[in-house]
Symmetry: C2
Subunit: 341 residues, 2 copies
Amino acid sequence: MRAGNVTLYDVAAAAGVSPKTVSRVINGAAGVSAATREQVQATIDELNYRPNFHARSLRVGRDEAIGVVLESLSDPFFATMASVIEEQALERGHVVLASSVGGDPEREHKLVQNLLQRQVSGLIMVPVSRDQSYLRAAAGQTPVVFVDRPARSADGLGTTVLGDDFGAAAAATEHLLHSGHTEIALIGDRPDVYTTAERIRGYRSALAESRVGVREDLIKTGVSSAAEARRALDELLRSERPPTAVFSSNARCSLGVVPALHARGRPDIAFVSFGDFPMADSLYPAVTVVDQDPAAVARTATQELFKQLDGAPAAEAPLSLPLRLVARGSGEIPLAAVTRP
Amino acid sequence: MRAGNVTLYDVAAAAGVSPKTVSRVINGAAGVSAATREQVQATIDELNYRPNFHARSLRVGRDEAIGVVLESLSDPFFATMASVIEEQALERGHVVLASSVGGDPEREHKLVQNLLQRQVSGLIMVPVSRDQSYLRAAAGQTPVVFVDRPARSADGLGTTVLGDDFGAAAAATEHLLHSGHTEIALIGDRPDVYTTAERIRGYRSALAESRVGVREDLIKTGVSSAAEARRALDELLRSERPPTAVFSSNARCSLGVVPALHARGRPDIAFVSFGDFPMADSLYPAVTVVDQDPAAVARTATQELFKQLDGAPAAEAPLSLPLRLVARGSGEIPLAAVTRP
DNA sequence: AACTTCACCGGCAACGAAGCCGGAGGAATG
DNA sequence: CATTCCTCCGGCTTCGTTGCCGGTGAAGTT
């Protein structure tokens, strides 16, 4: 009854069979008669034997778990992605070992390296650091799926699943332009983040298309938390030529912009958020968003990983999922409704 | 340059030393001259050697990672807990392997068992199933900290860190009573969940204290998603004697109740949410909540775990953290303001 | 009767790393 | 000069499991 250091060998001794037979039983392998299988199973239960995963993985050369490394769990986008991946993986019998990098690029390397050293069966990750070439060492060993953004310096190392950031950002900006706005501010993350860069590109492209100049002073980047977003918005509103519409390039920023708009008593300013978030449809006005559909991204990512686990090669071109604009009110406020202070 | 199957033995051969010396170098152990250490390190870098964690853990009998099993990442309470735990653990050099049970009690056993079989250094978990006695097998081997609710049939198996659910629920209910409400509905999870039970108990206690009878038809339990919460609220509003105030026993439910109140055009109904959520202060009316302070819970939990890792015994009594009520508006709507249909 | 076939089972070695001990060599000590 | 001591290092063994092979006995085949 002492601790869990019961080994396969102990079970074998107690059951009067060889360790190999016990191994066969716990792995459901053939070559064991029903009688002995039952008998061995009984002593396993009796001794409360649990196989040592490290020993197994060492021998087999694979950990059956799959690794997941996301950016941040405080972003609803990644949080639901994590849930969906876990759900899907478990259905197939894989346990998920997840971690998040929390905005620290060094942590990505560390965490991924750690999972790789555990020889996980597969890896789903959001590439946040500026270089994933370190994955080259694991090439061919471990299937990898990149989500949300492509990896850098890691061609052919895995499949990529992402949303159409450029297109959707352009559509969102056009949406605001259609309501008459021309002074459209953008609040977003660091521009060296792929998704942010693409969304800014879409924003600029839409403005250029409709012959509205880009006002650089209306672009606030490097905003990585709700608190900073709040400050950025305050700054914009206090400027000489404040914007009449705001485009937030991610949900985390929106979580700061919306409260700030409310606190400032400016529900009249048009607003579109890239990325949905809880309560967005219960606010006043309800928030118009680009729905990134994290569940869909997660589903295709896991399915893509499973394909690779089943021997299929990694898709060479990134899988780009279409995003749709969900008009709820805040993005449809006409220019005329904006009260100039 | 072929894959990552470079072993310690390969490094030893290339560096012209024994495997043992290489082992000493990668573990920073004493007994190696600066010269050879440097030389070994050089060939490690050259061969791009990475130790095999399974082999190491098998030999050492411990995985330096710490395991975390939470209920659901879609609940902001658990999501921020996960973030904080990870942050803290990494500071101390531990990688976190996280999973969530997603409301399935069987998954808890499976996931925890899995982490235990990996011989993680420590475990932080939300006990969701009705029995954690299976942890007895790991007793003394792996320090465990239970968060959010106590374990069952697992006395002395670990420390428990939780919030004062009973007291805070009673306070929230009293808060509504003070505004004149007597028909206060409760929407919550399954009552066999400890926290839910405690909160219902607090609710009942407050009603009894102030001599307001408990109307059983106003208590909707077994509500485990936002969608179900929405339905539950609809049902309440359609009843003959609808409530004038609603108390949601967790954030997940609130995420359904609030949109439903808005959709029904009933911002006049008083509302208090157990558990804060993003945007709660930007809604109209802003939502009065019981702040569970997940970050504080997570911090004390990890610190408690670290204490145990450093040899301290598990605290016998649960650590109960005080919770505070954050009045924002929705909970202070007076009875008089409610428009009877 | 001699042979193949098959289901069932056991022995041995190996996965990759660390623990334990022992040994060589130089410096310090008597 | 002999002895002790300490530093640096290597060999053998072990962790718990599975892969590879080989063996045994009963049943079926010619």
